[in-house]
């Protein structure tokens, strides 16, 4: 328990509560225009998506570009629980996350044997298959979309986001997370050091899918209407941009990338073609001039608060 009350953690906690409180205050006093309220919640959803994709692409080094597929499975499952079974919100969210996790295992087991571009293309294909299935599923309205009552508010979205980030961070900073990182660094050496690489790829993929499903559930229960086309390849690419912009492998980078991209999109929302052209140019320029993204694999951390002696004794830089 004493580990929980380090100066660093207390500062972070205060910061998190402050962000929540200020936005909540602005919401309640109605100073914040609805458009901004929407984008604050979208930022939370984006952060969950980016951080979970980063676990697969950045931490484990498995290149997936079908993340929107898992998001849609979560969105539709939770929408079904909400609409068809009148389940409570928490139940809908859990169901969405679990359904996406199951899909993650089923899809991960066969495809994660593939490497690099091949895996990327396979995940893209699976994302498209999932979309076609929802397009043709009359039970959820098919191509005309599926209406869901909006019950998510800032409190739900924010704390679910904090919980997701914390869970993924804690996983990454453990021996199991290091096993995933070793696959990214050198798969052959990882295997030779006793890491069951297949198992850890599937675990990372499943956890990533689960949180994408949670994000989908939050989205579905906020947006009034979900549509298969929302979860197309462009959505997967958007999430990828957030992760790459922040720096593959950097959790704080993914968070910054998600926030940045959400508000850029909001600023350019009336010029959607320009938004995509700008994003595309940004991506190409980033790859040419700074392929590691803003943060590289580094983290923005408050480790400098620790005393020097302590720093040498332990090394939790990851």
């Amino acid at each position: 328990m004493k580990h929980w009350f380090q100066l660093k953690n207390i500062i972070i906690l205060i910061g998190v509560v402050l962000i929540y409180g200020i936005v909540q205050l602005l919401n309640l006093t109605e100073i914040m225009p609805p458009f901004f309220q929407l984008n604050f919640i979208m930022a939370c959803i984006s952060i969950i998506l980016a951080v979970s994709l980063n676990l697969i692409n950045g931490v484990t080094g498995q290149f997936s570009i079908g993340h929107a597929g898992f998001m849609s499975i979560g969105a539709y499952t939770s929408a079904i629980v909400t609409v068809k079974f009148s389940g409570p919100l928490y139940m809908a969210l859990i169901a969405g996350a679990l359904a996406a996790a199951v899909a993650g295992v089923l899809i991960g087991l066969p495809t994660l044997r593939l490497k690099g571009d091949y895996l990327a293309i396979a995940t893209l294909g699976l994302g498209e298959i999932v979309r076609v299935i929802f397009m043709n599923m009359d039970y959820t309205g098919g191509a005309s979309g599926f209406s869901v009552p909006s019950t998510i508010n800032w409190t739900w979205a924010f704390w679910l986001m904090v919980m997701s980030v914390l869970a993924i961070r804690n996983f990454t900073a453990s021996t199991h997370g290091r096993a995933c990182i070793s696959i990214r660094e050198n798969e052959i050496a990882a295997e030779a050091m006793g890491i069951n690489t297949t198992k850890y790829k599937v675990i990372a993929f499943t956890i990533g899918a689960m949180f994408a499903g949670l994000a989908g559930g939050i989205y579905a229960n906020y947006m009034y209407l979900i549509h298969p086309l929302t979860f197309n390849f462009l959505k997967s690419f958007d999430i990828l941009v957030m992760v790459v912009l922040g720096g593959l492998g950097s959790l704080t980078g993914s968070i910054l990338g998600a926030i940045f991209m959400t508000f850029i999109s909001a600023a350019l929302s009336s010029l959607s073609e320009w938004r995509l052209v700008i994003t595309a140019v940004l991506m190409v320029a980033l790859m040419i001039f700074r392929p590691t993204g803003l943060m590289g694999t580094k983290e923005f951390s408050l480790n400098f608060l620790r005393k020097k002696g302590e720093k040498n004794a332990s090394s939790k830089s990851k």
Binding site: D117, A122, G125, I129, M135, N136, W274, V284
Partner: protein
């Protein structure tokens, strides 16, 4: 169920569609063979080619063949520009960086195209006679014949170029071993550019044929054919030119049969399903050889 005649009819359509996929798949496979890059923007080069063709036909009032050649030329230049600006600086970067760049270029062309050409669908003028041939109850459109003849001649031409010309030999050498080719005095950069030029020209030809055959074009028209052609290339064994042709035809036939048998909604899913099956069961494609990583 479908009758035998209807079945043959579907085969005819399948071959027409398949020859477009094959033309496109050649570009993917050549570029992959030479720099191991999945050129995501390839489908969008098809779109640009189709627009150049549309412009030459409607605004300049040229006929089919000159329009086709202009589109091929224009797209070849575009292909070389894309390679020089976006891919060349990343020659030694990680595969993921290159893949992201390729997706970026693709989006740039799609939405840049929307800004430039407008998002609306344009109708391709009827440049070919509407003649329909009828042989033993099976009907061929004039367009089917043009499509097949054009794509087969281009593929034969490509084979000749790759086998017998200096550029073709250089391309094969670079795809086998870039460093050795360099030491043998081959200009690797120019060879790679030539590959992009040829691949893009073929994509443009596919684009014009696409426009002529289906009568309509839009800035996102390249996305699906691009992905399908990539699947065709993987199916035939990526990096193999004959594999790409065979893969394109097989995929065209499968898609037409799936739609013809009543599953048109599932056509795209069927292609992706095939892709995943191939990747899992035989990732080197129907005609590919195994390669292993050196430990």
């Amino acid at each position: 169920m479908v009758s035998f005649q209807q079945f043959i009819q579907l085969l005819v359509q399948g071959v027409s569609l398949g020859s477009i996929y094959a033309l496109m798949a050649l570009g993917y496979t050549m570029v992959y063979g030479i720099i191991q890059l999945i050129n995501f923007a390839h489908g969008d080069v098809l779109m640009i080619g189709a627009y150049i063709g549309w412009f030459t036909i409607t605004k300049l009032h040229w006929s089919f063949l000159p329009a086709l050649l202009i589109a091929m030329l224009g797209s070849a230049i575009l292909g070389v520009l894309i390679e020089r600006i976006a891919y060349k600086p990343l020659r030694n970067a990680s595969r993921i960086a290159v893949l992201i760049t390729a997706i970026g270029v693709s989006l740039f062309l799609e939405y840049g195209g929307m800004l430039l050409f407008g998002p609306q669908v344009r109708t391709y003028p009827p440049v070919l006679p509407e003649t329909i041939y009828n042989i033993a109850g099976i009907s061929f459109k004039y367009g089917d014949v043009v499509m097949l003849v054009t794509s087969v001649s281009l593929m034969v031409l490509l084979q000749v170029v790759v086998r017998y010309t200096k550029v073709g030999k250089a391309m094969r050498a670079v795809s086998l071993d870039k460093d050795a080719a360099l030491l043998m005095g081959i200009d690797v950069n120019n060879t790679i550019s030539a590959t992009f030029a040829i691949g893009s020209a073929l994509a443009a030809a596919a684009g014009v044929l696409f426009g002529v055959y289906f009568n309509q074009i839009d800035p996102l028209m390249g996305v699906m054919p691009g992905l399908k052609a990539f699947i065709a290339a993987v199916l035939g064994g990526i990096g193999l030119i004959p594999g790409a042709m065979a893969g394109g035809l097989i995929l065209g036939l499968i898609e037409t049969l799936v739609s013809g048998l009543g599953g048109s909604m599932w056509r795209d899913a069927a292609s992706f399903f095939i892709l995943i099956l191939v990747l899992i069961i035989k990732p080197n494609g129907l005609f590919g050889k195994n390669v292993r990583e050196k430990v």
